[in-house]
Symmetry: C2
Subunit: 198 residues, 2 copies
């Protein structure tokens, strides 16, 4: 599950440790900030219960482990003292590092290939799904080698005009079949089955 702007970006231009979502990028996730399920996951009270909450909640419940990239981890400053995942998280990196536990989330730093990382995450997921949280380059990397079965795009109705594209040069090798669409006034959730193009 990843949020993308209607013009295809997951972060604005100039993203980095000082500017995690890039210029204007906080707008991409605006639909989340008022959402009850997202707030609860982030230890915040209140928020609205909408159709978006149900989609979020459904994903949270199905997720037994998370894989994400080092750049995303660094940009988010490791999500501070209380990361929202509350499941084992595997961070793809070139620099080996000791595992790190923060509240209900453990971060394991993995220097393995995607296939091996997915095995480790599957073993830790207790029969639930492994969620690929991003960033874009990690998602592309997994899609290229056929390791992503499903992609949920939360299509945010904003335009950034530039930034980090979700799909980059991925192109025609991938086949996507829309299997579910849920819309709200804030965002459009599209679930795709992912396979290799014939």
């Amino acid at each position: 599950m990843i949020t993308m702007t209607l013009d295809g970006y997951v972060a604005g231009p100039n993203d980095g440790v000082e500017n995690p979502l890039g210029d204007g990028g906080e707008r991409i996730h605006e639909w989340l900030y008022a959402d009850e399920a997202w707030r609860a996951q982030h230890g915040l009270e209140g928020g609205e219960r909408t159709v978006d909450s149900e989609v979020m909640q459904h994903t949270i419940e199905r997720t037994g482990a998370v894989i994400l990239g080092r750049r995303m981890y660094d940009n988010a400053h490791g999500w501070g003292d209380d990361p929202p995942f509350r499941v084992p998280v595997f961070v793809l990196t070139h620099r080996p590092e000791e595992p790190l536990a923060k509240n209900d989330t453990t971060f394991t730093f993995v220097t393995e290939e995607p296939a091996r990382t997915l095995e480790l995450a599957r073993d830790a997921a207790g029969g639930k799904d492994v969620q690929l949280a991003g960033g874009a380059s990690v998602i592309q990397q997994f899609m290229r080698v056929g390791l992503l079965d499903e992609l949920v795009v939360n299509l945010s109705p904003i335009l950034l005009g530039g930034g980090v594209p979700l799909f980059g040069s991925l192109g025609a090798a991938i086949r996507l079949d829309p299997v579910e669409v849920v819309g709200s006034p804030r965002v459009t959730h599209i679930r795709y089955q992912v396979s290799e193009a014939a």
Copy 2:
């Protein structure tokens, strides 16, 4: 109403008169070719009646005039002898040319600004909607000056990895509010209300 790939393109790379939809671009419109409403509009029999047909049919019925860009007109070779529009079409161009009637479609070549072109199209539309058919640069031009009220994106579940982006550098000046979503196994139709960003 315009069809865009999930990675944001309305045509593949290297589009032109010899290659109207660009490299791989015919895949963008694959969802249409089997569709009853589209086939009927193009004088072809058969096809499937799906939820996509209903969306198409609804748009066709609402449309009283069409505006499109010269590049699109040229790339399509003027749609041959039996253009599918069957309503007055206004072609934005820098080169004045005599009006052209082909079967039920008339092409008027307009060298005016977008606002004036829209007035001409409205007068010709007999109380129905004016549809901006594209290409991308014409849609961007109208959006920039606040002349587009509604945008229907048919989101085609394919990736091209490059080509002609629908939104280009349009960015944050535009506000889009999703007001309707209809999904099928082939394509996701999202209707946005368009306004200027606050």
